[in-house]
């Protein structure tokens, strides 16, 4: 039960601070999101720049890059995910403790980017793990990563503790482990996790509409 904003301001004037458990909980969570320390390609350089003094990701409570997935809350997929690397990325995601979030940074991580039609690049990491925020760009500027981070904070702030749309870590029945693709003779097996990446609406007709 949220407190009405007007009432909250009025009470604040009287020196009374009211909040909800939900708000307090999410306020704490969203301001100490610790990213995992790993980079995949050139986007990682922009990610590093974001953490340094000029852009200063520490303002958002995310200055501590953890070198272990066990201690990290956020995975920034910073760069091209090759098919050879994809199983390791999914395995690292599996090793992270809930609640965990994923930012897919840059054209390669969200779709394969300029390497999309290559034989060795995954067409977006969202085929195997759920992605919370996608950032376009090649590479995205640090401001874009900060924007993605703020978007994630807004998303965390809006998460309810109960009900159908509660996050995975509060849902005992939610799927916690995602199948790690196996490298096989021609491609990764399976090539896509349909539970995470259902075929986007209109995919079957995409393209024909534009050319017709």
């Amino acid at each position: 039960m949220a407190v009405e904003p007007d009432l909250k301001i009025e009470l604040g004037k009287q020196g009374v601070f009211v909040t909800t458990l939900n708000e307090l909980y999410n306020w704490g969570r969203r301001n100490s999101v610790w990213p995992m320390q790993f980079g995949l390609a050139c986007c990682a350089i922009e990610m590093i720049a974001t953490t340094m003094a000029r852009y200063d990701l520490a303002r958002f409570g995310a200055e501590v890059f953890r070198p272990s997935p066990r201690q990290a809350d956020l995975m920034i997929i910073s760069g091209t995910v090759t098919k050879k690397m994809a199983p390791q990325v999914v395995r690292l995601y599996n090793q992270m403790a809930e609640p965990r979030y994923v930012i897919a940074m840059g054209a390669c991580a969200i779709s394969g980017g300029p390497f999309k039609q290559g034989y060795n690049v995954l067409k977006g990491i969202d085929r195997y793990i759920p992605v919370d925020v996608h950032i376009p760009g090649c590479p995205p500027r640090p401001e874009a990563l900060i924007h993605a981070f703020m978007t994630l904070q807004k998303k965390i702030a809006a998460q309810p503790l109960t009900g159908e749309s509660r996050p995975r870590h509060l849902d005992a029945l939610a799927q916690g482990e995602f199948p790690v693709p196996v490298p096989s003779a021609h491609d990764l097996e399976p090539p896509v996790n349909r539970l995470v990446w259902p075929l986007p609406a209109g995919a079957a007709t995409a393209g024909s509409g534009e050319t017709a």
Binding site: Q117, Y119, P183, D187, P191, L199, T205, A206, G207, S208
Partner: protein, 225 residues
């Protein structure tokens, strides 16, 4: 230092019986290359390193040459039965026929050799050395030049990975870029990548073709059910 033409002559006189040929590059750069038979490659490579001064292999790569079909018009004479003045007779006739010939394809390993000793004072460009396999399917072995130029080690592994040339005498011939379980050779010209064209938001050209093929297949599978 010597040009490629002179080097061919030098090799032939220094190593009698060696199978070396000049591959002419008709472009203005005129960077001709040396083609050497697989069985003579190690001898030639050792000579080039020790006597001709090519002490560094700066690059090694592969080329895939598909089967080449050439058609030619040939005139032949044949005896044909024909009605001549109402009587069946055997008459010789000149017939023009199209003869198709298939030149078998092959895989080629290309090495770029450079002389660190001579460096920029060398008036000739880096030397290009080529070796060809017998075909593209099962006889794809070539001798490894890693014992001569150590820098070829990883590049030969890359050629093995992407083109499927098997280098005999290589110390550690494993795939370099693709995973171990992978069976194809992606840089071959007949490589077909996996059909994951189910979602192409902005298809064009080749991608559009593949996406349409994928949709047609999906529609056919839908119809069969």
């Amino acid at each position: 230092m010597k040009s490629a033409e002179e080097l061919v002559e030098e090799l032939k006189s220094a190593l009698p019986g060696v199978d070396v040929a000049l591959v002419v590059n008709p472009s203005p750069s005129a960077q001709h290359s040396l083609r050497v038979a697989a069985e003579d490659a190690l001898r030639v490579a050792a000579y080039l390193r020790d006597q001709a001064g090519y002490d560094y292999c700066s690059n090694a790569t592969g080329v895939d040459w598909l089967d080449k079909e050439t058609s030619e018009k040939v005139k032949t004479t044949r005896t044909v039965s024909k009605q001549v003045d109402g009587v069946e007779q055997m008459v010789e006739e000149v017939v023009e026929e199209t003869v198709k010939r298939v030149e078998p394809g092959f895989l080629e390993a290309v090495y770029h050799l450079y002389s660190m000793k001579r460096g920029h004072s060398d008036p000739h460009p880096p030397l290009v050395l080529r070796m060809r396999t017998e075909n593209r399917a099962d006889r794809v072995e070539l001798p490894s030049l890693t014992p001569v130029w150590r820098s070829a080690e990883f590049q030969e592994r890359e050629i093995f990975d992407l083109y499927g040339i098997v280098f005999k005498g290589h110390r550690d011939l494993r795939r370099l870029l693709m995973w171990e379980e992978f069976e194809d050779h992606p840089m071959r010209r007949d490589y077909v990548d996996p059909d994951d064209y189910e979602y192409e938001p902005t298809p064009h050209d080749e991608v559009l073709k593949r996406a349409e093929e994928h949709r047609a297949q999906m529609a056919a599978a839908e119809g069969a059910r």
